[in-house]
Amino acid sequence: MKVDLTTRVKNLVLKNPITVASGTFGTTDEYAGYVDSKKLGAIITKTITVKPRAGNPMPRICETSAGMLNAIGLQNKGLEDFIEHKIPYFKKLGVPLIVSIAGESAEEFGELAKTFDGMKDVVKALEINLSCPNVETGGVNFMKKQERILDVAKAVRDQTDLLAFAKISPELGDVLEIAGKVIGQGIDGISLINTLRGMAVDPCTRSSRIAKDFGGLSGPAIKPVALRYVYQVKKEFRVPVIASGGISNAHDALEFLIVGADLLAIGTANFVEPQATLRILKGIEEFCRKERIWHLEDLRGSYRPAGEKGEGYNR
């Protein structure tokens, strides 16, 4: 029997819950030689800004225990290039597209939202990147201030009725509080977690192993933290959640589904295993079949909180 993996996010219907985390799957066809992207439930783009961004100096990445630090710095060719060169690719591919956007001001976020509102044939949702911890200069880091976050949420909501997810990093402050506030502004769902801010030093040079003091920590190392936030946000607000943070195999993916995640965004794992997405998809299906779960919905959110298990010491 076939397992029904259909994933509904408000009025958006996806064939399965597997997507890719922003910035980890190239800009268009980088992984096309390895995976049939058509099989993904959705694709989340690298974050797009209004103007092109050169990003940070090199080196931008280094490995840490069960993870990596990155300080890419939102390098991208900007909105115009995206519309001209990337949108046509995704239109042809036909996989529901979630565009990740970041602005240097609420107005820019609004501008981006408005632009993509006009492309609903390709763009099915927006992910508002509130949290890139690597952008330290000027504009984008204004996000630290919570009122500004609300301005952004409002600016986006005013410009489009596209499904909108706010992507939150624990670095922004109290995740539950921020989630509650942006939901209050009419944002449909939450995407979390973005990377945690971290550091790595080369003892010989006494300096950072990347060209910035700090980078964003991603990969299996952060999975327990991500899982906990996804659970908390889902439990508190019952809104659609895109989960990311160290999802590397079917076991990880199942954990996120069980605590309630709607979409599973595979990130750093793509770098290690270009076929990670589809392998995970297959693993979820196999687990469901083994457990005789024929509709993914029956698994999603099936977590049994600790209290219910009985609290004996010796078991």
């Binding site: 980890t24 066809d29 992984y31 050169a54 990003g55 080196p59 990155n70 390098q75 793509n270 270009p274």
Partner: protein, 256 residues
């Protein structure tokens, strides 16, 4: 059109120390060996699991039929673990990745300048295409390539060691300058790979003598396929990805 790429489990045919510096690893794969050119590389997953986590990039060193050889130096944890693998152990390998060195240099003579982990792709190049000079710089005699590994190279091989224990004493760029001073610089085309400082010095010399050339600019990599933007190189036509747009760049394109 999408070019099909490969990610295969390969079983090690050998993995052994060849001298004080390098290990050599070999395996077979039809897909990973087809139409490969010197300068291209592979992404090797050293262990299942998370330690080490990311793949590590290694240049093709030699291809004989379906047999692929990698020559590598133990520099950190990943290569340390790699060096402990035994015949029969299985690795996951992605490739072929990246662009390649120019094969056809027209009337120019090929001069290769190699150091450190830049030696393997240049030996591959020297074995495969007519080459005038192969210049190799090392710290001392202990790190020189063992003779059998160079026997198929028909170029003039000149070595320099920093401590003078073999060949010319000093940096490999001394050898280069000597050749350029003694001969007609305009006849040469340089191809180089090695430590950044060495490559920068080579490019500076090339500029001084007005010679063209190519460099394999090896940045630390995460994805190896152009997806993460972790390996950028600044060029005259903007930021390029060492893994997907390179690793080989023309001297004149680089903005150092």
């Amino acid at each position: 059109m999408t070019i099909k790429k490969y990610d295969e489990d390969v079983s090690l045919l050998e993995n052994k120390r060849v001298n004080g510096k390098y290990f050599k690893l070999a395996f077979q794969s039809a897909n990973l060996s087809r139409n490969v050119q010197p300068g291209q590389f592979l992404q090797i997953r050293i262990n299942d699991g998370n330690d080490p986590y990311l793949r590590r990039p290694f240049s093709y060193y030699r291809i004989t039929g379906k047999r692929i050889e990698i020559l590598y130096e133990v520099l950190g944890r990943g290569t340390e673990i790699l060096s402990q693998k035994k015949k029969g152990d299985v690795l996951k390998v992605m490739g072929p990745l990246g662009n390649a060195f120019a094969e056809n240099l027209g009337k120019k003579k090929r001069i290769l300048i190699a150091g450190g982990v830049g030696v393997p792709p240049l030996v591959f190049l020297a074995e495969k295409y007519p080459t005038e000079y192969l210049l190799i710089g090392t710290k001392s005699k202990a790190e020189l390539m063992p003779k059998p590994e160079l026997k198929k190279v028909r170029a003039k091989i000149l070595c320099s060691t920093e401590d003078g224990s073999y060949g010319t004493k000093g940096r490999v760029t001394l050898l280069l300058e000597k050749i350029l001073m003694d001969q007609h610089p305009g006849e040469f085309f340089i191809q180089t790979c090695g430590p950044k400082k060495m490559m920068e010095a080579v490019i500076a010399i090339a500029a001084k003598y007005g010679i063209e050339g190519e460099v394999s600019w090896d940045e630390s990599m995460a994805c190896g396929v152009g997806a993460c933007l972790g390996c950028m190189v600044k060029t005259r036509s903007g930021l390029k990805r060492a893994c997907a747009d390179g690793p080989v760049f023309k001297f004149e394109d680089l903005e150092l």
